[in-house]
Amino acid sequence: MHRHILVDVRDASVTLGGRTIWANVNATVAAGEFVAILGPNGVGKSTLLKAILGLLPLAAGTIARDADAGEHAIGYLPQRRSFDASLRVRGLDLVRLGLDGDRWGVPVPGRRSRANTQRVRDLVDLVGAGAYAHRPIGQLSGGEQQRLLIAQALARHPRLLMLDEPLDSLDLPNQASIAALIGRICRTEGVAVIMVAHDVNPILPYLDKVIYLGQGGAVSGTPARVITTETLSALYGIPIEVLTTSDGRLVVIGQPEAPAHHTDRHEHGPAAPAPGPEERDAVPSADAGAR
């Protein structure tokens, strides 16, 4: 089993404002893998994602990204953005911007334009957003917006999809259906996924690998090997207990708390307002078969 390696993190450390966020992190991500970055709040999971993207400099070590994958090889979905309710732009337009939003000049009708329109339609179908993609994005629920944002990130056929807490602030049914959608895209489109998550359970059935992050390093491997009492206790140096509930959910007890001085985590402002009850309507039945 030697799959093509897309990302190779070696002995990497990141220092922000004179403080080491994490150090000696090693991990690899192969083509087509579904990988979760896990760890307690404030340990620097988003920072690892940004370091892999090349948005942050490393203090030590290297992060090699597959060189021959081209400039559009990565689709990136930053930590949850919510759109102003009054924003009068359709979901379709948002997806389209992911395709050609960086091009200067007036879009001219023609073969490329028609191909792009078709691509947007395919993407909307892929994420099951056909019923509401023509509505203004600000009026959609959190789960619906998240589907369209995933479609946008997939617009240029990336080989790697990087998602920063895409399940954050979604209700449980939507967490399950978005997780199923990402799992399905990973399998059917052959796109590798690196996803930051604070709860492994919604994505557990789809995961190939987890990267459990601590300040002094990271452990990576299959969920069954990493998320255990022994491994996590060794990683954090304190007694940690992993319990399995009768329905197969994992509960990690005794994770270290976030360091109190860690204030740079939410640099994109306060979290989005809590989703309203309307999100319960957003669970489509289409993904039920994808599990």
């Binding site: 993207l53 948005l55 990136y76 979905l77 930053p78 953005r81 919510s82 759109f83 102003d84 309710a85 009054s86 924003l87 009068r88 732009v89 359709r90 337009d93 948002l94 911007l97 992911g98 050609d100 939003g101 960086d102 091009r103 200067w104 000049g105 007036v106 879009p107 509505r135 203004p136 994005i137 600000g138 009026q139 959609l140 629920s141 946008q152 990130a153 994109h268 402002g269 989005a272 307002p273 309203g276 309307e278 309507d281």
Partner: protein, 303 residues
């Protein structure tokens, strides 16, 4: 000039035979198109407050121009563009909308108005002109002024044509746009400059206080009608032109000022369209089950 007849074409032809009025229609048309286009992006970006401030800064600029005896047009443009540069220099402008900078922008606005009154008092015997500077006039637009308006307008439209798509991307979704290599910060600054030039254009017919009649109301009305970018932009321009032409037409025959007519017509259109689209939406909802109904977030928390 003969009194109003119901033969509108004949009325219009008679108006256009007077150079002063013909210039007003020419200038008004240029301004309507430019303001509706740039205003469309302004509304989308949530920069109305910055737009309003840029327009107000035109007032001291124009007052100073009168006091110093240089052209009004020069006064408007230099003041507005300078103010755009100041706002663009504010730290992290645009990254989180303009909520955090609103106090600074408000400060600039207050100081600009104060300077305006100073320049007016320095130039004695200017009291009648103050009202025009603040609330607009369609009289006294020279042919040279029309040419200047057209050249600046063409430059603004050309800029928007080039940066329009990345600007839309950066306005809606700055983080992802930046990840796609869009120069978000550069676009922020460019748009503010374009907005400053546009506010200066519009001020010359609406006055500094009523620029929103052409800069905000047509795009806001168009965006109520449709969320599709191209049709919404086209509709915004059409509404701007209809507003300017009908306001000029009415103003010629009435004794009330042009600023009043422009604003009233634009506002009337906005209210009518707002009521009609709301009724339409309620009608659509009637056919759907209440469980599917989705209200927009009502708490108004900026996100």
């Amino acid at each position: 000039m003969s009194p109003f007849t119901w033969n509108l074409l004949a009325d219009l032809r008679e108006m256009w035979s007077i150079p002063l009025l013909l210039n007003a229609f020419r200038a008004g048309s240029v301004i309507a198109v430019v303001a509706a286009t740039v205003g469309w992006f302004m509304v989308l970006r949530g920069q109305s407050f910055a737009g309003h401030t840029l327009a107000l800064v035109g007032f001291p600029g124009a007052a100073a121009a009168v006091w110093l005896g240089i052209g009004l047009t020069v006064g408007y443009f230099s003041a507005c563009v300078a103010a755009a540069l100041v706002i663009a220099m504010l730290p992290a402008a645009g990254r989180r909308g303009y909520r955090e900078e609103s106090a600074v922008i408000g400060t600039v606005q207050a100081f600009a108005l104060a300077c305006g009154t100073l320049f007016i008092s320095l130039y004695k015997g200017f009291l009648g002109g103050t009202t025009s500077l603040l609330f607009g006039t369609f009289l006294g637009i020279s042919s040279a002024q029309v040419v200047t308006l057209a050249i600046v307008g063409a430059a603004v439209l050309a800029t928007i044509a080039v940066i329009g798509r990345p600007l839309l991307f950066a306005s809606i979704d700055p983080d992802v746009a930046a990840a796609h290599g869009v120069p978000v910060r550069l676009l922020d600054v460019s748009f503010l400059l374009v907005l400053g030039a546009t506010a200066a254009e519009a001020s010359q017919i609406t006055g500094a206080l009523l620029v929103f009649a052409l800069l905000l109301l047509p795009p806001a009305t168009a965006q109520l009608v449709t969320a599709r970018p191209a049709p919404s932009l086209a509709l915004s321009i059409a509404i701007g032109l209809v507003t300017v032409w009908s306001a000029l037409f009415v103003a010629v025959y009435s004794t009330y000022p042009i600023g009043f007519w422009l604003t009233t017509i634009a506002f009337g259109l906005y209210v009518v369209v707002g009521v009609v689209t709301r009724l339409g939406r309620v009608g659509q909802r009637g056919g759907r089950s209440p469980a599917v109904r989705r209200e927009p977030m009502l708490d108004g928390t900026p996100s």
